[in-house]
Symmetry: none
């Protein structure tokens, strides 16, 4: 049965919210489509205000570079080949974990971004969402 793009994003976000509640850390969760444009974004009560743009930009980064933001982290460190990458794209690229490309049949069809806790917590919540996808 057909599920809309927004419908899938809601499922991802609901799974993320459930995991975030479970670990007791309020999060912001964002989903972008293949064009890098927002599909849906939720901010849980008490989540950091700074996470609003970070979650969206993690989703954008993962879509735009077709890799997780933790993979991006490894190539932008001082001395690494893409040092300075994060100031391109009007500063939208996030270079730490919590963003993942959404892949369907081998194609990158969107991005998911989670922000609000430590990097490890953000990754945990994002992975829980992807597992439910």
């Amino acid at each position: 049965e057909h599920v809309s793009v927004l419908g899938k994003a809601k499922q991802l976000i609901a799974a993320a919210e459930q995991k975030a509640a479970e670990i007791g850390v309020p999060m912001v969760i964002a989903v972008v489509d293949a064009g890098g444009n927002l599909v849906a974004q939720h901010r849980m009560d008490g989540a950091l205000l700074g996470s609003i743009s970070i979650a969206l930009d993690k989703a954008y980064t993962a879509l735009a570079l077709k890799m997780s933001t933790e993979e991006v982290a490894s190539v932008v460190a001082p001395g690494q080949p893409l040092f300075g990458l994060n100031t391109s794209n009007n500063g939208r690229f996030i270079t730490f974990g919590g963003g993942f490309p959404l892949v369907d049949g081998g194609n990158v069809i969107g991005g998911l971004g989670v922000s609000g806790g430590t990097v490890e917590e953000d990754i945990t919540v994002a992975r829980a969402a992807l597992a439910a996808y």
Copy 2:
């Protein structure tokens, strides 16, 4: 029983999505809190990309000016007292209908913005959401 700020935003957005589906026009719906910060935003499949920022900015405008964006429209026309208002606030103010303040006990506690159809359709969908609030 306590409903979270995000929970209330989801209710508003669900009611808006239902009305938008009913009239057959895909919409973007956004809710901001009392500080003008995003609580939740959904883009229905097929909605105009241009509506992503318009919906959010309608919500922001209604919160920041404590009036609906259709009321704003009437005071910024040429010859009216606030002609030129729309270029303030970094151009975020939207001066046509579809944005409403969220009021609770006489206090403005947030803003709702709807974009995707004609101004009349946007207002219809926003009013349906407010009625379910």
Copy 3:
């Protein structure tokens, strides 16, 4: 006796706050110096969020154009010589009343901006501040 630039700005703002309280309309009041840079800005409890940038930009406009923002209004109307002026200066120019240049010995030494009420209320509060200057 020497009064600092900040000290004078505080006096202006205090007089504006007193008048705003008197008429029962919470306001944002801003003062910029001869370089157009912020000296002081206060937001009264309950003032419109949208007034934060408007008050500062009114002060900037009055300083930068060496005229009150109500005078600016008269020259930017459709058909008038400076129609469209408000989108210059990165959209910072405000084209309705509430901003006044601060004049000392015939020289423009700063700007005062008031926002939060109707244009008339903003002007009333700004004039009360100037009278106390």
Copy 4:
């Protein structure tokens, strides 16, 4: 007795100004509310122009991340988990000391930012303000 949000901000800023005068370094001091929006900002005579946006952004950063900007500094260094954080949020995050969250009853209700001297001087002045809070 009730003190307004602006009233509390004035107290904080007055204490900061007194300390800054004591150590002979003119400062810019800014206070934002729980939504990250400006409550009050003062620039002392002679303070660095660059400090106007830095003070406000320090206050915003501390509010938006619920930690002091010196704590932020320790997690964004090369090799640290949040390296690159400072280019998110449209570059508004400040990653050196002088910004503190304002906490009331365990809740973060705003942010204070001080800029104008060395990082140590900024922190000294901000702590003096917080002590008087």
